[in-house]
Symmetry: C2
Subunit: 131 residues, 2 copies
DNA sequence: ATTAAATTGTTATAATATAACATTTTGTAA
DNA sequence: TTACAAAATGTTATATTATAACAATTTAAT
């Protein structure tokens, strides 16, 4: 596995340390003190980090999270749980699920090589708050 | 089920007739002749149509498609196949899959009430073109 | 008729993302 | 060790997607 470039490393470190998904412009704001001044610098690093599987994009939130599974692998099978109250996002690492979806074949005869799944609901904490 | 308002109906008809997912600003362009002039008018109709389950948002594409299943139900369990070559999007209606995902429970103890799944790959046509 | 909820109209602006072009750095093979 | 290609960077401008805020109108149920 290749090493990260300077900008990629700066941005990966930030995302990796964050307890919550980060948005591109919030990343931009955070790394301006480190010399990254333009949106495109952020987006290019994000694209690369996604491509090599170090981070994932949470599509429904336009935000990025560090990979929690095997941090160097290209990610073709991603699943997340998202709390609609506190917005906590967790990567799901469940071999039964990934096996089921990787092997899934629909009647349309399409050959899948990738999937992304997002579950929505209330996390434990938020469920108990509401009761 | 309630009737659609004027703007909602105009925009739903457009999406429903389209063979491919439509983006908000392309919708705006198409309906300007019918008196809808501002982005917000489009987004408000889209929000409502999504809420009542007449259309779905394809999150990875920021585009909207008419529901192919039971067009009046609130959609809490959506799955799509997306061809990465021709961008054709099809709603997957597979009871085994929806049953599996609706019942899925992860070890985090979170209570899911909704999911969205997007499969990516090559459709039949595009697979044969490449060979 | 009254009234609350939903919808519409409108202007402005926020948030997300890419185009285009020039330069520099990095890895690798002659 | 130089030369070369690929990757990464820097920069300005702009495209695309989405919402805020406020006023007016329509709809549907009393």
């Amino acid at each position: 596995m290749q090493n990260l470039s300077k900008n990629q490393q700066i941005i990966f470190d930030l995302i990796d340390k964050s307890p919550e998904p980060l948005k591109a412009y919030s990343i931009l704001f955070s790394v301006q003190k480190r010399g990254i001044k333009a949106p495109l610098q952020v987006y290019r690093a994000l694209d690369k980090l996604v491509e090599i599987g170090k981070i994932h994009k949470i599509e429904s939130r336009n935000a990025f999270i560090a990979c929690q599974n095997s941090s160097c692998q290209i990610s073709k099978a991603t699943a997340f749980s998202i709390c609609e109250s506190c917005e906590k996002v967790t990567e799901i690492n469940n071999s039964n699920l990934s096996k089921y979806l990787t092997c899934f074949k629909d009647k349309n005869g399409m050959k899948y090589n990738k999937y992304n799944l997002e579950f929505f609901g209330l996390c434990k904490k938020c469920v108990s708050k509401k009761s």
